[in-house]
């Protein structure tokens, strides 16, 4: 038998697996999990430094199906952003990954999601976007496109929330869109998100093969595949791969991430600069007008501090502080008492 391939920290792909998935066969969410595992493996990230967080939904179950050596928290519906924020404050040394659904994020959890991005909490946040509530059996979600048809025939006529646009507007510092079936694009985007410090939002179209895969649905496998509008091809280069600094042929942009890794973007059509906010928003709208899903690294902002850094938290995780660090002295209390006597 051939030896399993090991990464730089001597782990095999198997070491990044989790429990057996309970998703329906062919569910887009499983494909995303596969890319996520691959991304961690390729980037040689120690699973013990990762925390996995999620809300409630089919998508939110998936963190149990990868990285079994990491701590995980399947919280309550819509609250992952808040729970992740708290966990991040308690221990900012850990690498949080959040997995959520379009219902979990864009409906019940929208408020908390927005504020997490405003704060630029350090997290890789993946929305497994299928346009429906999978776990409650097929109701429309707030990302269902106008004109999309429900299994029962009902047509959605309320405009969709575009999570990528929202993320850009509200302060997220790494915003990407991809498709569950496009492993080649998704994996480097996840790797980039993991390397980024700050809120990295990945809106990943992820067909629900059971409740939203029919004719008339704009999030079906067939429709999504046929309407992808990639901005660029991209490669992720981890910090340890010291490839020569020169641009390869066809590279228009190189995005440098905080940890020294790089994403190389190769243009497919027009020039695109992901650090240009206005261009990013315009491009999203242009794609929507054509009924397409703009994919790729849509926006990147290297200039904002992530939340824990902004708060100037000590290097030691708050969760490791001792009584000696936390409890003021008796003398200090006497001083307070003295002031309160006045």
């Amino acid at each position: 038998m051939a030896e399993a391939k090991l990464n730089r920290i001597n782990l095999s792909e198997k070491d990044y697996e989790g429990a057996a998935s309970t998703m329906c066969r062919g569910c887009g969410h499983d494909a995303i999990s596969a890319s996520v595992m691959r991304a961690y493996f390729e980037s040689s990230i120690d699973p013990r430094k990762v925390i996995k967080l999620s809300g409630i939904g089919c998508s939110s179950k998936t963190p149990a199906y990868f990285l079994s050596q990491s701590f995980g928290f399947n919280a309550v519906h819509g609250r992952m952003s808040a729970v992740a924020t708290g966990a991040n404050l308690a221990n900012h040394k850990l690498m949080p990954i959040g997995v959520s659904g379009d219902g979990d994020t864009s409906a019940i959890g929208l408020g908390n999601f927005c504020h997490m991005m405003r704060r630029n909490v350090n997290i890789t946040y993946i929305v497994e976007n299928n346009g429906v509530y999978g776990l409650t059996k097929g109701q429309f979600s707030a990302t269902a496109d106008v004109g999309s048809v429900m299994k029962g025939g009902k047509v959605n006529d309320i405009p969709a929330i575009d999570l990528a646009e929202l993320a850009i507007t509200l302060g997220a510092t790494y915003v990407a869109r991809s498709f569950s079936g496009d492993r080649k694009q998704l994996t480097p985007l996840v790797q980039g998100a993991l390397a980024h410090s700050g809120s990295a939002i990945l809106d990943v179209i992820s067909p629900c093969v059971t409740f939203n895969n029919h004719e008339g649905s704009t999030k079906s496998l067939k429709y999504a595949k046929g309407h992808l509008d990639p901005i660029h091809d991209l490669d992720f280069i981890p910090p340890f791969e010291n490839i020569d600094a020169d641009y390869e042929e066809g590279t228009d942009h190189e995005v440098k991430l905080h940890d020294g890794s790089r994403i190389r973007l190769h243009k497919l059509g027009k020039d695109y600069d992901p650090t240009n906010k206005m261009q990013a928003i315009t491009a999203i709208h242009a794609a929507i007008a054509e009924g397409k899903f703009l994919t790729g690294l849509i926006y990147y902002n290297p200039n904002r501090k992530e939340f824990a850094e902004e708060l100037n938290l000590c290097d030691t995780p708050l969760s490791d502080l001792t009584q000696d660090d936390l409890q003021p002295t008796l003398e200090q209390l006497q001083q307070i008492n003295g002031n309160l006597m006045k």
């Binding site: 708290g86 938290l313 502080l321 001792t322």
Partner: protein
């Protein structure tokens, strides 16, 4: 005419919210405190920034009673909008002070009380240049008037001003000018009253502090090691979080040159609860502060923390019911909300402080309880404790090590591994219902586990198996039973042979203390118990069993604590007579006495067989 009492006086100042009276009232209260006279203050304020009526009562009590007094001896009538009602709140023989810059309308005259006027408006117009400040300075004039009439030394007032505005001599001077104007005016008029005199008591309040429960609890939480604090503004709890914002940078020494805490104003209470559950899960001492409406919003995450067994602390300052109207009035109406917060079967630990030191102490220890029992812990305060100024013994710190509970580090896990022991996150290894836990960041190969709400087995594996579910439910319940032995025991005062008991909790403590003395004076001897925590401890159970009649005083309509007691100890149910005060005002001893006498009279034939 009566002879004046010495140091026994209840002053009510009626003003408009936002008129600057808070500052005047504060000075008045602190001056009486500085004279050494036992005193308390109650601020009855509206949910409004400017314009609605507010009343501030200051009680001086030679006997040291600190609850709100039933009778008003002196009314400072400085709010035209409420004056017609205010004049009738003064007792017969009492005194009304008013601004006679314009003549007093006839409808504000009544018989049986003394009126003393002074031209506050005219005086400030003369003394203070026209500015928005002038209207506020008008309130300083009544401080001077009261000082003259009741014998508060101007030197004491000066000292209070210096304590309060130490670094702003101009402010001290302008305030003093207006206070003195009121003082001198009545002196020249040779005004007198015959109600009371305030006399200095040497060393009277020596060593005592003045503080609010919210401040005491904030400092307590800091001493308890709070490191992730997430909150959303709501009266009457905001000043708790704001006190933490004030004290944290002053009290906590930096580490690595940076902060050892994160204090976050969240986007709502749903978020603050979610954040502290995340932080508690990841091993920080995490807390929020809020009041009833916030608890309602936090319910889902509270249940998650209960089932996932995540330590987190909720400092709750209770107030009136939902929405607009009574958010600035005091209540104990969220006891059942807290005790059973969330869905599914839940029961929570409540620590119930009754004075400044227990606000400090329980806030500090709440983190130990949360860590020991791996569960949400509530500190159940109320507006009266939280926002009124109380004179108190200095805050006292018990120097004891933090109780971190059964939290396993990597080294301990390694020892377990060597001994062939398995780490089972939700397994009752010690028979006390409390499992062992690890926190993220622990890199031992045995450490990690996957956390979920209700659907897990003893090894934290996903499970919908009926036995697994029941195991978790029963074990968590057992943990609660263990907690019964650890939570603060009641304070009990009892005499052999006395068969009537008065039971109360929280801010009812002071009025009940006074009520018992009055009842005794009228021939009814009572034993006494102050409940300080839920679950109820064995001592509570025994006390209830030992008495024939139990008056249970609560500040809610539905006798919420009585319901909990009856649920746990049905056999005492028939002996409990609820004394309920739920008008939103701090309880008075008079109300307690009246309800007890009324109940005793109507229940006379029954009690013997109860």
């Amino acid at each position: 005419m009566d002879t004046p009492t010495i140091n026994d006086l209840n002053i009510c100042v009626a003003t408009e919210n936002g008129s600057g009276s808070a500052s005047s009232n504060n000075i008045l209260f602190k001056a009486i405190f500085k004279m050494g006279v036992p005193c308390s203050s109650k601020n009855m304020f509206p949910s409004n920034i400017q314009g609605l009526p507010t009343w501030y009562e200051i009680r001086a009590s030679a006997e040291g009673y600190l609850s709100r007094k039933d009778v008003i001896d002196v009314m400072v009538m400085f709010n035209d909008a409420t004056a017609a009602k205010d004049i009738h709140r003064v007792r017969d023989g009492g005194l009304i002070l008013y601004d006679d810059s314009t003549p007093l309308p006839a409808n504000l005259r009544r018989d049986g009380v003394q009126y003393i006027g002074f031209p506050a408006n005219k005086l400030v117009t003369k003394l203070v240049p026209a500015s928005p400040l002038r209207a506020k300075q008008r309130n300083m004039v009544y401080v001077g008037a009261l000082a003259y009439l009741f014998g508060i030394d101007m030197e004491v007032i000066k000292a209070v001003l210096e304590d309060t505005f130490g670094k702003k001599p101009a402010v001290i001077e302008s305030n003093l000018l207006c206070i003195d104007a009121g003082y001198q005016y009545l002196k020249e008029e040779s005004a007198t009253q015959n109600i009371a005199r305030l006399e200095q008591i040497p060393n009277g309040n020596k060593g005592k502090i003045i503080t609010e429960g919210n401040t005491a609890a904030a400092i307590g939480a800091i001493y308890g090691g709070a490191s992730v604090i997430c909150w959303y503004p709501i009266t009457p709890s905001s000043s708790l979080a704001e006190s933490m914002e004030y004290y944290l940078p002053r009290l906590r020494k930096p580490k690595d040159g940076k902060k050892t805490y994160a204090i976050i104003q969240a986007e709502d209470e749903i978020a603050s609860a979610g954040m502290i559950v995340g932080a508690g899960w990841a091993g920080a001492r995490a807390m929020t502060s809020t009041s009833g409406p916030g608890v309602s919003l936090m319910n889902e995450s509270i249940g998650l923390a209960y089932y996932a067994e995540v330590p987190c602390v909720f400092l709750i300052v209770q107030r009136g019911g939902p929405s607009t109207g009574l958010p600035t009035r005091t209540q104990q109406s969220d006891i059942s909300l807290m005790y059973g917060a969330s869905h599914g079967d839940t029961r929570h630990i409540l620590l119930i402080p009754h004075d400044m030191n227990s606000c400090f102490d329980f806030a500090r220890r709440s983190f130990d309880f949360a860590d020991r029992f791996q569960t949400p812990v509530f500190v159940a305060m109320d507006l009266d404790l939280g926002m009124n100024l109380w004179s108190s013994e200095p805050l006292k710190l018990e120097k004891e090590p933090y109780e971190l509970g059964k939290r396993l580090g990597a080294e301990q896990l390694e020892e377990w591994a060597k001994a062939g022991k398995k780490f089972r996150r939700y397994f009752d290894q010690d028979g006390d219902g409390i499992p062992y836990r690890t926190v993220p960041g622990n890199q031992h190969p045995m450490a990690s586990y996957f956390t979920r709400g209700s659907g897990h087995d003893a090894d934290a594996k996903y499970s919908e198996d009926e036995n697994d579910y029941k195991y978790i439910l029963d074990r968590v319940r057992k943990k609660f039973e263990t907690a019964r032995k650890f939570v603060p025991k009641p304070i009990i005062e009892r005499e052999r042979g006395v068969k009537t008991g008065i039971v109360c909790y929280g801010s009812s403590y002071e009025p009940v203390r006074e009520a018992r003395d009055r009842l005794k004076a009228r021939g009814l001897k009572t034993n006494y118990m102050l409940i300080r925590a839920l679950p109820l401890t064995g001592e509570v159970r025994d006390f209830l069993a030992e008495h024939d009649t139990i008056y249970l005083v609560e500040q809610n309509r539905d006798a919420q604590m009585a319901a909990i007691v009856k649920d746990e100890q049905p056999e005492v149910g028939a002996k409990i007579v609820s004394v309920l005060v739920y008008n939103g005002l701090p309880v008075t001893a008079g109300e307690v006495v009246k309800q007890i006498f009324d109940a005793a009279q109507s229940a006379q034939p029954k009690t013997a067989t109860a």
